[in-house]
């Protein structure tokens, strides 16, 4: 498997309270921009640059990101990931994260847009050490189709595996196949077109946090359905069904903000000092 369309490796570490890259390597169609230290944060935000032409048939992307002890990183994309028609095979992306003790990762990519006849498989594997924190969001949306059909992509398969100290603690597998499933019907997308997920794993998770997140999302305007539930380990998942990317983004942002505010009060960090 040396013929990846794009490869990205990023290792960060904590040097005297500031997170810096220890190793950055990218090849092929995957690129990453110079980091931005947002709002004077002590941790960097890296923007991934997707290939301009989107993901094509047979494309394979691999990303490996390691956060050393007590480092913090925000990773996002510069724009949405577009998957076009894959008549022969499919487009594939795999991501592997390693979060050492006390590290903090926010992986918040822009939405995935799957166009007509697109097949896409995505696999995220996260290895966490106890005491590390993960915030991850994912939004999948159907792209425009010439016939104006709501769901014209072929298959979207999204797999997430999260390990805590080498033990599997979360397994999340979504497969959307409009030709086979009654997408608009009961149990599938319930009449909506867009699916959002926000998953948080952190030792500070408690019932108060879940209650306040429920109140926040439940009070938001707009046509959507959502569920929030605790995992077997300290953490939770929120799933959102809606018709607009912006609505899902605003729900995820509101939850992200609430989590950050609550946790940084409990644990003062460099975030608040600058």
């Amino acid at each position: 498997m040396s013929d990846w369309t794009g490869v990205l490796e990023l290792d960060v570490e904590n040097r005297g309270g500031r997170t810096v890259a220890d190793n950055i390597y990218f090849q092929g169609a995957f690129k990453v921009m110079r980091p931005v230290y947002l709002n004077g944060y002590s941790h960097p935000c890296y923007y991934l640059l997707n290939p301009g032409g989107g993901y094509l048939d047979g494309d394979t992307y691999r990303m490996k990101v390691t956060l050393a002890e007590d480092s913090r990183l925000t990773l996002t994309t510069q724009s949405s990931t577009k998957v076009y028609k894959t008549p022969v095979s499919y487009a594939y992306q795999e991501t592997e994260f390693h979060l050492e003790k006390g590290s903090y990762l926010e992986y918040l990519p822009d939405p995935l847009i799957a166009y007509k006849d697109a097949k896409y498989v995505q696999k995220n594997v996260v290895h966490m050490e106890r005491g590390s924190t993960l915030l991850y969001s994912d939004i999948v949306t159907p792209g425009w189709s010439p016939e104006g059909k709501e769901f014209s992509y072929d298959t979207l398969r999204l797999k997430n595996e999260i390990y805590m100290d080498d033990e599997l603690v979360v397994f999340d597998h979504i497969k959307l196949q409009p030709a086979r499933q009654n997408m608009g019907g009961l149990g599938f997308m319930e009449g909506y077109t867009h699916l959002g997920s926000f998953m948080v794993i952190g030792e500070q998770t408690d019932d108060d946090l879940l209650d306040s997140l429920y109140e926040i999302v439940d009070g938001m305007e707009g046509d959507f359905e959502f569920g929030i539930s605790r995992l077997t380990i300290p953490g939770f998942t929120i799933r959102i069904l809606a018709d607009k990317t912006q609505l899902i983004e605003s729900i995820v942002s509101a939850c992200h903000l609430a989590v950050s505010e609550k946790w940084h009060q409990v644990e003062p960090s460099f975030l608040r000092k600058y």
């Binding site: 397994f171 597998h173 995992l231």
Partner: protein
Amino acid sequence: MKTARSNGHSDTSGIVMTDNALTLFQLCDSQFPTGSFSHSFGMETYIQNDIVVDPETFSDWLKVYLHEQLVYADGLAAKIVYAALDEEDFDRVWEMDRLLTVQNLARESRDGTQRMGKRMLDAVDSIYDIPIISLYMERLRNKESFGHPAIVFTMLGHHLGVDRKTTVVYYLYSTIVALVQNAVRAIPIGQTAGQKVIHQFQGELKEAGDEIMKLDDYEFGVVSPGLEVSQMQHEHVGIRIFSS
């Protein structure tokens, strides 16, 4: 370890009722004390939202639940566990116990299933003396495993020598029957209407069994977003008669 494996049938030859299959059938009774009467696995959310209101709409929900959740989770796991028991690959069995638990992202459904697994283990253990069942109980006591009814059921089916597909389909049947009983009470629908649904589901169960036999292990744990959201939303359903 290898006791009473008298009736090994091939997977592909359809379902044959044998004495041992009849023995396994005891676990399909909704009176078997697993606590299944207190779990709707999200159905109650649809009832509260006036989406599941009569035998037809209940059947619609049950079909999606069977074909889009049970097939990929409990059903496929039962098939994998049966093969692992054949090969005495017990690590694979415990791996499936963990997978079944951690793939269930809705807490109430996950915890409820775990409680049912524990109760089914207790009941089976009080009737039978089966080493793998004792081992599973010990792992639960030591918090090494979670407990899942699909795995307990498969262990007994395998022990009795009931073939793999029959074991899987009987397990699905037991789940369907319990849910019909719950629908009868909760929607409510008449007992006869409930029995009609069970009768209609024979074809669905056969189809589900065929599908599971064809599925690759890679397909494990696929969940439909709507079902999952309804199972999460149940935590906030107002007046409720089920705990999931």
